[in-house]
Amino acid sequence: MAVAKMRKVTIFAYEELGESIFETLRDLEVLHVSKSESYDLSEYKDEEETEVDEAKYNEKLSQLSVIKSYFERYTTIKKSFIDMFTGAKPQMSYEDFQRVIASYDVSEIFSKVQLHEKRLREIDKETEQLKQRMEILTPWVDLDIPIPEIRPTRACDMQLAVVPSNSLNQVSKDDPLELVHHRVIWQEHGNSGVWLVALLDQEPSLSAVVSALGGVTVNLGREAAEYSGTGLVRDVLENIDKALTDLSGEREAILAEDAEMAQNLMDILALIDYYLDKRNLFEIHQEVAKTRFTLVIEGYAREKEIDKLRKGLSVYKDIEIVDEEPGQDDDVPVLLENNALVRPFEFVTNIYGYPQYHEMDPTPFLAPFFWVFFAMCLGDAVYGVILSIFSIVFLRTQKLEDDKLIKLLGYCGVSTVFAGALMGSWLGDLPKTFLEGTAFERFASRIAILDPVNDPITLLVVSLGLGILHIWVGVIVKMIGTIRTGAVVDGILDHGSWVVFLPGLIFWAVSQMGMIKSSIPLYIMIAGAVGIMWSGARSQKNILMKPISAIGGFYSILSYFSDTLSYARILALGLASAIIGVVVNMVCALIVDMVPGVGWVFVPVILIVGHLFNLLINALGSFIHSGRLQYVEFFSKFFEGGGTPFRPLRRVRKNVWVVE
């Protein structure tokens, strides 16, 4: 039905054309390459060059990823908030893409980046060291003796020291230290930097004097060594300052160059895609069956696109393409094909998985139910309008790889308008709260035939009724599916009996309540029950056990019952969104009452924020729970799934989208 017809394609070609053929196939985007099963040519395989090539691509990719993360420090590809949800990728024209591939030397940029990175680290380290030296030297700026001269002479010992300021006073007064000449260079925080001179052979020695004063000697030699010049502290400082300026200049230059290079981040992203694509083709090339000189590519293509494939490959003369009907045992990839109305609902199916190739596509069956369930769960006309408008605007303004979800929301928005109107919910009970007595309010209340808040039982019955219908359709689909595989008797007896029995049971129950006066439902139910008993007995070989199996056939009625109850969630979710809407309106009304006059100012804010919140959280809930009803209650009746999705060979588009 709606699973696209596939042809099994086998391409025989010369191995030397392999790379080019795969590139053509990639651009055609029609062939799903599958692992070769029919041809085992592994003994002829040529192992030599493969590793080398793969390593080459991997090296380029790892270099590119280093470049990418380096560039991303300077710039990012700006993504709008919306794009974070859609996963939209930046675009690039095909010409630009070709130019980038042709002109870029990845290794060159990589070594440049590495060099820059290393140099920047060095600059940071050097700057840090220089700053430390500066900090040490700065206090001594007034010292007018060149640093290299501060060292013991033949007769004198000369040193710099930092001593506590108060101990300094003792030096002049106390007798034994009078032999030491000192000059205070700086004073700060109770410490003093002093220059001390004493005779070499005196007792106590200069060092001992310093430690007796509670100070430490200072050696500036290391700090000054590299920036000698005159050797004066102030000149050394000047030199350091100059060196710092040079370093920061160099740094600025590197950063500026990098920032300019980083403008090409897009190119790097494109290159990453390019090499990913190369590697992907290479890997597939390695996987297919081949000998040293020949190549066999196996895969599947849509029946419709076989001509496109043949035409695309017609540029190669020495090539043989065979297409045939896939066999029963082939793992044929699955592509869903539905008309424009149903296609968005494939999104729901795909969350669960893909049908097997020989199975029916459940999408057309679940579509109307999902459409209705979502609407009843959200159940507000204005929310529906908002969803639809959002969907239209989004589709107009955004380029999407996969627009199914957005279209689905748009469709469900339409049904939500209907459901909301039927339940009399327009932004909750807004018409009643603020538009009492207007024509719109009268109109809204006239078309409202269901009231989830005041009369939930009716809605509960409607929900469960839809649930029974849903399950019943599931059983019918199962019956048709079984008959299609050829097991006509199985289909009719095992599933057809339930198809007859279930409505019989329901209408019989209704007639028992006195709403219908007819005994037809009873006969239908009995007919179905007989069928169920027959199908139960049929499977049992032992003649004595047959009656028990016949009764046992009714066991699944329990699961039908609990499945049906699960649809009560439609009412619950509908109530939740309706009541939260009411709460928002009520808060508005309260504000207007509490703050007379000015209260109206807050109303729009509360209305918009409150209802938007309600819409978002309940749209999420409605979507998920409507989905769940399909997967658990509906699919369990007939659907197996587990098919392989059809993924034709195509360009890798991880980072950028190349447009022709």
């Binding site: 974070m84 949800f85 669960y352 009541i579 939260i580 999420l620 769940r628 658990v632």
Partner: protein, 186 residues
């Protein structure tokens, strides 16, 4: 870490519930029916809220870490974080309905002790189911985030698994709403 804490939060919920029950039992006549009803409304909001706070907090933490790793996943992670948030809303909803029922917005009314208890017990199903289901749904969401990390194209599936847990919160909500609307006689 969060997984180990679920028991603790459930315990805290039970303390809330039994604390209010005992308070009502002993001081009910002193407090009056209105207070009993308000305790029920408060219980629904508080327990649903606790469950959602803890679960949304834990899922948000993981989502933030994963977004730091790969910002592209943000859009896929956000719904997973929001999922266990609905229980708090269900709790609030029932609390609000209880307030409407006792006429809090229409000038108020004097409830008898029995009527107060009716409202209180009508609030219990949603309180308990929301607290526990939010915590466990959070757990499933945390695991679902691994699907997003490892197979981003399959992330739709990660949304359906937590919905199974939410079913029981929805049923609790439905039970409480129906009780308040139809079973409570005021």
């Amino acid at each position: 870490m969060f997984e180990g804490m679920i028991g603790k939060w459930v315990l805290i919920g039970c303390v809330f519930l039994f604390g209010m029950l005992i308070m009502g039992l002993f001081f009910g006549p002193l407090l009056g029916g209105n207070v009993l009803a308000l305790m029920g409304a408060g219980l629904a909001v508080a327990l649903g809220g606790i469950g959602s706070i803890v679960a949304v907090g834990a899922t948000g933490e993981k989502a933030a870490g994963m977004t730091a790793e790969n910002p592209e996943n943000f859009g896929r992670l956000l719904p997973l974080q929001a999922l266990p948030g609905t229980q708090g809303i269900y709790g609030f909803l029932v609390g609000f309905l209880a307030l409407v029922k006792i006429g809090a917005f229409a000038g108020g009314m004097e409830l008898s002790i029995a009527q107060g208890w009716q409202v209180f017990f009508a609030c219990v199903p949603v309180s308990v189911t929301c607290l526990i289901s939010a915590l466990y749904q959070g757990k499933v969401c945390l695991s679902g985030m691994d699907i997003v990390a490892k197979k981003p194209e399959e992330s739709g599936k990660s949304l359906i698994l937590p919905a199974m847990v939410e079913t029981y919160a929805v049923l609790g909500l439905l039970a409480s709403v129906l009780m308040i609307m139809f079973a409570v006689k005021i």
